[in-house]
Amino acid sequence: MTTAPAVPTTHAAQPRRGWYRRNEIAITPWLFLAPGILFFAAYVIIPIFQSFQVSFYAWDGLGDLADTGTFIGMGNYRELAGDRNFEISFWNNIKWLVLYLLAIPMGLFIALFLNQTVTGIRLYKSLFFFPFVISQVVVGLVFSWFYLPSEGLLNTVIGLVGLGPINILGDPTYATYGIIAAGLWPQTAYCMILYLTGLNAVDPEQIEAARLDGAKGWKMLWYIIIPQLKPATFIAFVVTIIGALRSFDLISIMTNGGPFGQTRVLSFYMYEKALAEFGFRMGYGASIAVVLFMIMLIFIAYFLWSMWRDERAAR
């Protein structure tokens, strides 16, 4: 059949490989990723686009969107622009995002304080970590009892120094700050754990070198320790931002959005408009969700960019 070559072929001995074998290196990672991608698409990516779609409709959420929904274009967004409750929720979200970041420095200082070897330090560390272990619902209940206007511990304590009584959760000016303070308790513990792990990785030689150069106290902290804690700070920042945006459960337990809607955040307002007892406005709820998504997108973009930058630097 073939003209016999003078030189024997080099790969004649090898059996013919299958398509998968030939593309193994390229295919395998995707196979492993497939279940994750599939579920992520079904439960996260596709619903995001569906929310965008629903936000252009007036729809009560009962029955099928195509049958019972009416397309109203930007109508929901126009209404949002003049909705005072939306405005209040939006600014509350901003307050949460800014004040929740206090968890990072507080966590750092508790971590520095606990980063020493004395008898029973493990016990102290676990006590500080305790609030993060218990459920947010329990944290919310504990704090709402703590804040109770007549019997609460807070008013008893400030009563001793002649202040109060103050009804934190019943007063629209303080209620949101009261809930944020409750949320900071477990969040600080979380940041503390991240920094404790980070402190273990601080290079002792650098500290020694800095000490020889005469650095101590704040200078040591600022120029030697904190730069080495950068990975921990980044993770703490990520989890704190996520925590601030997930504030739903604390609000639901402590004030139920009240008094008269002054402690709502966007996610809670969306829930009330679209899903709760009197909420039959799926389209309006979806438009709130889209706005919330846009806010999150700022942070998501920043996180992705900074991870991409780190990865490139590592190569």
Binding site: L148, G258, E277, F278, F280
Partner: protein, 425 residues
């Protein structure tokens, strides 16, 4: 003793009836009930047990969910894997589900059941009936009789007397009205009465149907009357922090004397240690002598989801709970021997005209008030008469008014904006 006997008699009649029309029901039946407070819970469990005895081949699964939680869960329950029987409320509250085709048309049952004609309207939408009532209850001012006696004051008939009483109560270092507005609806009850007494039942319904502006002077007059009480300091402080249950101890401890609430509050008051000599009840006094007295008397209902699987059994259950004897038995007062409940009861009023109202101080008074002294008309309740979105915005505004009465103008403007949008759709 007498109640136990009637209970026994009632249950014998029930079993008797069971043999008469025992269709062979079989398969599974799933009931989701929102009767989660202790007394109603016992009633619901009793109902299911009795019905199960009548139909031994039927496997009944009863799931009791938190009453306030159910209000948010019902829509999911109706659309995915719906149960066979659920609890809900009459009038406007069932409208969205009826419109979306999620409730079963049970008009056929209404042809068979007798004695429910008086409430047929509240369960009718588009000339069809979408559920059956099992109980209703009066609202009114429940008060501490013993404190009234101690202060030498009596049940008032006019608003002036009410305020004069309240001044005496305030001077004795107590508050007049306990209320917990954390979940908002309790403030709706106060508005219902203030508005019905100031402008009459018909005006109240016009407002509910969106035919009157919230900025109308008559509405302002209602708020002006209400404000008189708020300015006196008649309400307990910090009510925005409490649920209605959390505000009960104020009455039980004698820190507040009144509670404007439905008759369902009597059972927990008794549980809190108050005897019938200590609590009593009167109709909300007249404010404007020219208007007839209107009353709130909400109806609670059973429905069959359109997607139910065992509709035969569900229909049979709905017929069972509306029967005159069953209604008599479940609506009676709860009877207790120490801490053990010997006869569960809702302590409310039966809807079936052929049922008897059991002999109980509060049920008798409430029934008399509704049949003889509510000539203006009977309303369902703020959150059932007003469309969902108007009710939500309205109750939030009412709570704000109770805490900051000075914000009234702003609140009314907002409610008017909401009204214009909600009713235009």
């Amino acid at each position: 003793m007498r109640s136990i006997l009637t209970a026994l008699a009632a249950s014998t009649i029930m079993t008797g009836a069971a043999f008469a029309d025992a269709h062979a029901l079989s398969g599974d039946m799933r009931i989701v009930s929102d009767m989660s407070n202790p007394a109603p819970r016992a009633v619901m469990e009793g109902l299911v047990a009795d019905f199960g005895e009548m139909h031994p081949d039927l496997n009944i699964e009863l799931e009791i969910v938190d009453r306030d939680g159910w209000k948010g869960q019902i829509r999911n329950a109706l659309s995915s894997n719906p149960p066979d029987v659920i609890n809900w409320y009459a009038a406007n509250r069932m409208m969205p589900f009826v419109n979306a085709g999620l409730f079963e048309d049970v008009s056929d049952l209404w042809d068979e059941i007798e004695g429910l004609d008086s409430v047929k309207g509240a369960l009718t939408i588009d000339d069809k009936q979408w559920g059956v009532p099992y109980t209703y209850y009066n609202w009114g001012l429940y008060y501490r009789e013993d404190i009234f006696a101690e202060l030498g004051i009596e049940e008032p008939e006019t608003f002036e007397q009410e305020m004069a009483n309240c001044q005496v109560i305030l001077d004795s270092g107590r508050k007049c009205y306990a209320i917990g507005t954390k979940f908002l609806w309790t403030a709706g009850g106060w508005f219902d009465y203030m508005n019905m007494r100031t402008n009459g039942f018909d005006f109240h319904m016009e407002l509910a149907r969106g035919e009157v502006e919230w900025t109308d002077d008559r509405v302002r007059e209602t708020f002006a009357n209400w404000r008189k009480l708020i300015d006196m300091g008649a309400y307990i402080d910090d009510h925005q922090n409490y649920s209605w249950q959390e505000a009960l101890p104020f009455v039980a401890n004698g820190e507040a004397t009144h509670y404007l609430i439905g008759n369902f509050a009597v059972a927990p008051m008794r549980d809190a240690g108050l005897t019938d000599e200590q609590i009593d009840f009167y109709q909300f006094p007249a404010i404007n002598p020219d208007v007839e007295m209107g009353e709130d008397a909400p109806i609670d209902t059973f429905h069959i989801p359109a997607g139910a699987e065992n509709k035969d059994a569900a229909r049979e259950f709905l017929k069972f709970v509306t029967g005159a004897d069953v209604q008599t038995a479940i609506n009676g007062p709860e009877v207790k021997d120490g801490d053990t409940v010997t006869k569960p009861g809702l302590g409310q009023l039966p809807v079936n005209a052929a049922s008897a109202v059991e002999d109980d101080e509060f049920l008798n008074q409430g029934f008399e008030m509704l049949t003889e002294n509510a000539t203006g008309g009977i309303a369902q309740f703020f959150d059932r008469d007003f469309p969902a979105e108007m009710a939500a915005a309205g109750m939030e505004g009412l709570q704000e008014f109770m805490v900051f009465p000075d914000n009234l103008d702003d609140i009314l403007q907002r409610l008017e904006q909401t009204r214009q949008r909600v009713y235009a759709e």
